[in-house]
Symmetry: C2
């Protein structure tokens, strides 16, 4: 294994430079004006996989953004690992809060600042470099496939069709994903689950046109006020979601599981200081880690209506809008929750307004069994690289496609994430620690090694 480490040491500057090139491509999947950038990014990923030594690399068109697939065959008797990642990124807004351009990566204090540095270009690229190390040192202990998509940040809308249509191509023994975080480099951890997602947009219409708030104010329902009342009613005084049947399918964690989770290091003062808040907020009866891990949530991601410009305008607007998403836990189903939320919003709206609500996208939650070979190989890899066993945690984010891999490809997923919660994912000044980038490239070969041994 020393050969792997030596190779990494000799080429680390080039590895970083290649990542920075990827980060300079503004591959924002949500915005139609970046369609060309998405194609350029897929092509760049394809080229890097070829250079890393994959036998076959191909770009597959979908009804949305293209998918990059690659394969390196070693030996049919060895297990096959499918690495999943995504080359698309979140929109960079609000731009004015970035200290440097979101697509002009800057290295500062050992951190790579750029949109996508941690989520997920920096993380999937560790796997591309691990492949290079294996091929250059002629030591790949598994067969390896790559599925790098361009729609993770918009719900993997077209990946489902792609997976269903290409089961043979994607056939594997395990799916390996680096798109999550660790507690810290001192406290390596493994996300044993990701939450599902149900994302909707709602439009409340009051009068058929914007009105003068003096002439009509007080006599006609204001859609902003009504939307505010609807949103306000979605959580009760214990911050429990009030939508009927919302919690019906939630698998309650056992006291033993919760006790195990509570062992993860957590300092509430530090957590509050980092966020700049005086007080936390959340569902009564659960700790912060439970609230973001084992409990479903409902958050408003955006709201707008009426006059939002400079100065004052005395308008009673015709419409108000909100984007609302729920994070889901086993065994909630996103289709069920999406319907519950939409039906509920329509039901609670008074007759003085009309409500339109539509799904943006969704995905089901996923749990990696801790007694599986997949989890054990990942845990051993981390223990080898970090010198201490990882803490299993339940991740708060979502990787919508994971549940589909299980149902369509019939294989487990393991999350080998090297980000940190402080990486400002989806926020201005997203960053990825250089240390984590290199530590990830060092750890990944151990996973393949141990997985081949345990599986074999």
């Amino acid at each position: 294994m020393q050969a792997w480490k030596d190779y990494l040491d000799q080429h680390k500057d080039r590895f970083l430079e290649e990542l920075l090139q990827l980060l300079r491509i503004p591959s924002v999947s949500a915005r139609s004006e970046h369609k060309g950038d998405m194609i350029a990014c897929a092509n760049a990923v394809k080229q890097r996989l070829e250079e890393a030594g994959a036998d076959t690399v191909a770009i597959y068109q979908t009804a949305g953004h293209p998918v990059v697939f690659a394969e390196k065959k070693t030996d049919a008797s060895k297990p096959t690992v499918l690495v999943y990642g995504h080359y698309d990124v979140q929109p960079p807004d609000p731009l004015e809060l970035w200290h440097s351009g979101p697509f002009e990566p800057v290295i500062k204090d050992g951190k790579i600042y750029a949109r996508g540095s941690a989520d997920d270009k920096g993380q999937f690229y560790m796997h591309v470099k691990a492949l290079e190390i294996f091929t250059k040192t002629a030591s790949l202990p598994v067969n390896i496939k790559f599925l790098i998509e361009g729609e993770e940040e918009i719900g993997s809308s077209h990946l489902e069709d792609f997976v269903k249509a290409n089961k043979e191509l994607l056939k594997a023994d395990v799916v390996l994903i680096s798109d999550t975080a660790m507690l810290s480099m001192q406290n390596p951890s493994i996300d044993v689950g990701v939450r599902g997602l149900s994302y909707i947009e709602v439009e409340v219409t009051g009068p058929n046109r914007d009105l003068h708030s003096g002439v009509y104010g007080g006599a006609v329902a204001n859609p902003i006020t009504i939307l505010a009342k609807m949103i306000a009613s979605l959580h009760d005084e214990n911050n429990h979601v009030t939508i009927p049947h919302f919690y019906d399918d939630v698998v309650e964690s056992s006291a033993a599981e919760r006790a195990e989770m509570a062992k993860a290091p957590y300092d509430e003062e530090e957590y509050k200081n980092d966020l700049g808040v005086k007080e936390l907020w959340g569902e009564k009866g659960y700790t912060t880690n439970e609230r973001t891990g084992i409990r479903p949530t409902l958050e408003v991601n955006g709201i707008w209506g009426g006059y939002t410009g400079e100065g004052a305008k005395t308008v009673l607007p015709s419409k108000a809008h909100a984007k609302i998403s729920c994070r889901l836990v086993p065994n909630q189903k996103h289709q069920v929750i999406t319907k519950l939320v939409i039906d509920h919003l329509k039901k609670i709206a008074p007759p003085s307004v009309t409500v339109k609500a539509e799904e943006h996208h969704g995905g089901d939650p996923y749990l990696t069994p801790m007694d599986s070979v997949e989890y054990k190989a990942a845990a051993k890899a981390l223990e080898t690289a970090f010198g201490k066993p990882p803490i299993p945690v339940r991740g708060g984010g979502s990787i919508p496609i994971t549940a589909l891999f299980e149902s369509e490809l019939n294989c487990k997923t393991v999350f080998l994430g090297f980000g940190l919660d402080s990486d400002n994912l989806h926020s201005p000044n997203e960053k990825f620690e250089l240390f984590n980038f290199y530590k990830g490239i060092e750890t990944i070969p151990y996973f393949h090694q141990y997985y081949a041994e345990m599986k074999g």
Copy 2:
């Protein structure tokens, strides 16, 4: 009086063309990029007043947009009428809902479509043309002054200083304002009051940066949710404003006054159909006309926070904002209400967020006594022009400076408005009926005539 009418008939096409020229100037006081247009508009108003025969016309600079003053002296023994109006207009947004350009006036079906056509360029310009008629027919029965300002739509922020510093210049027996509406041309009416205004902007801050709604959602207060809860709590189940002491200074109308108001024609089905709503909304125990006339209100004029662009972004935002305004009735004071609202918002915010709230502008409500010479002269003028006595109504809008005229100039204001509620004030497709424009020019000379007779 036939001479007046003949003159109007002979020159009506030119009068209209002059108004259209004024409407082409985008004098949006709220937007700093229109500063040059504001100066151009003030100059155009000055020129038209000179052409109409005023003895002195001058532009006065203020700390904000300039004020146009004009005077036509007839006879020191005759009473002096001060005509107040404003050349500034509301922002035209949302632009996409206009059928033609807001500053490209179009005449269609007997209506002038343009921002400012009714509010207030079309209405104050009737007075400029009435002056021309008097000077050309050598028959002005009063002395007349004009005060046409450029900040009415942003709260007349600097007019207070101007009025206080120029009491002698502005000295008059009555203030005459055409900036309100009539019930209809079949049902002429006079607004005997305007509501006051208290306009604030509130900013709610949760975490110190935008967060990933999966990683942090459920554990940190979402400022949109908190703002929604705050807004939702401002009205109770009877749509009564819940802010303590909000109604303390409200003068309750007597049963007799309410019975008189109830005589105004009102068809609820027609009202709902015009607005496209299935059900009205308002304070329990009051009719629609009372809700918009004798009762104070609280409306949200704008709200924004989080991701409002195309597609989906799973963000838990740092900030959420709202613009909120109250309409006030006698004897509420805008400074008192503004403080009540700001203090209340800060008080009800949970410790998990911080709240900033600031005043945009305000003004006190005003009532014209119905037993005054001023009201009687206006009522007689309308009766003469329309052939039936006007119905006294309480207007819902605000003319923030009116209360100041009473306190500083010690004279009553009378509202001789020729707009209609359906004029789309502050909304896309603002219009002013050609019939109303000409009928206004015809009616105004009667007011001067009767006022001179009654006062003399």
